[in-house]
Symmetry: C2
Subunit: 218 residues, 2 copies
């Protein structure tokens, strides 16, 4: 599958590498490739040298050549980034792994949208022809692509209004090693997984590591 | 231990029965025992006949004779109920299992406090001498007292500012069969477990049963 990962931060890099390792044709999207490449960002420079098969394009160019777009930008940047991708999102599956975290009050972050709305729904409303699926936002990036780092299987949630798009994402999740994919229902159920971040950040604080995930036992 | 369970609803009855079965000296608190007894409530009448060792007192009388008070009332009623218990809460461990659910917009409920505050903190602020511990609010009542109903061990979270009170609650949780008790830290971390309800209600909808719980795999 041709996959565009929007965002060159830790989440974007981890997902791009993991999806490339699975054999997908992966490109990364960024605001301005020339300025991203010129940036004095040692981690990104090293990552690019190690993953030279993963091209770097504008958000719109990355999305327009893809079958599936992954929003791996920060929650605060998400709506602006998707606006820049614009019509290139139309008809495409948009896997949104972001969270509406607001760090302006320090740690733990609060949520800038919750309960009666979600960032996933805001993205869908801004791009009605995109086929938004929320998933993977309930775990740290390493576990998104390598759930086997944990000693037991854990659960990944999917939310979306387009059944075919959810099926595409579910298949991708299985191929990444996620064995328990729980379909919560329509995209509005993303409110639940985004609100879970309130617990996630505090559990991370108590455990002293982001390398944990939940398993829904039933 | 002498335990006062505030609330005669399903959660209160389930906790009172479970704690009584463990050998504790349990009373239930209600607004007005005479009117509760006079009420045409078949489920409560049957429950009382089956658990005649569990007395029914006012909130204040129940709390004043106890070592530990459990708030098992609805989130909407919690602050009023605790006000009625009043000074009887002073110095006592107050285990708060409630959630700030607002059903006024239908299902799924929203939260009437979240993110920058929690119901547990509001209870503590209203009763500074109570020793509030938040726990058990992340699972259905049956699992609070019988976690073994599930095929695998799951996690219960505790939050509180009083280490000794948390130790009392942790001991009680172990005695109920909870093997993985995760101390999140101070009472403000109850924001996390209360916000988790946003995911819990949607997972319940997807699974079609409240008989599930999460295990934190790390």
């Amino acid at each position: 599958m041709r996959i565009a990962v929007l965002g060159t931060g830790v989440v974007g890099r981890t997902l791009a590498a993991g999806l490339h390792d699975l054999g997908h044709d992966v490109v990364m999207g960024t605001r301005d490739p020339a300025s991203t490449l010129a940036r004095d960002d040692e981690a990104l420079t090293r990552w690019r040298a190690e993953h030279d098969a993963v091209g770097l394009l504008t958000f719109a160019d990355a999305a327009s050549g893809s079958d599936l777009v992954v929003n791996a930008t920060s929650g605060a940047a998400t709506l602006d980034v998707l606006d820049r991708a614009g019509e290139a999102l139309d008809g495409r599956v948009l896997l949104d792994v972001s969270n509406p975290l607001d760090f302006s009050r320090g740690f733990p972050p609060t949520l800038f949208v919750a309960d009666t709305d979600s960032l996933a729904e805001q993205a869908q409303a801004a791009h009605p022809r995109a086929r938004v699926v929320k998933a993977l936002n309930t775990m740290t990036a390493d576990l998104m692509v390598r759930p086997g780092l944990l000693p037991e299987g854990t659960t990944v949630f999917v939310s979306g209004d387009d059944p075919d798009a959810k099926e595409v994402v579910t298949g991708l999740l299985h191929s990444l090693g996620h064995t328990d994919v729980l379909d919560l229902g329509g995209l509005a159920t993303a409110r639940g997984t985004e609100m879970y971040l309130g617990l996630w950040v505090r559990a991370m604080g108590a455990l002293g590591t982001p390398l944990f995930n939940i398993r829904v036992v039933r």
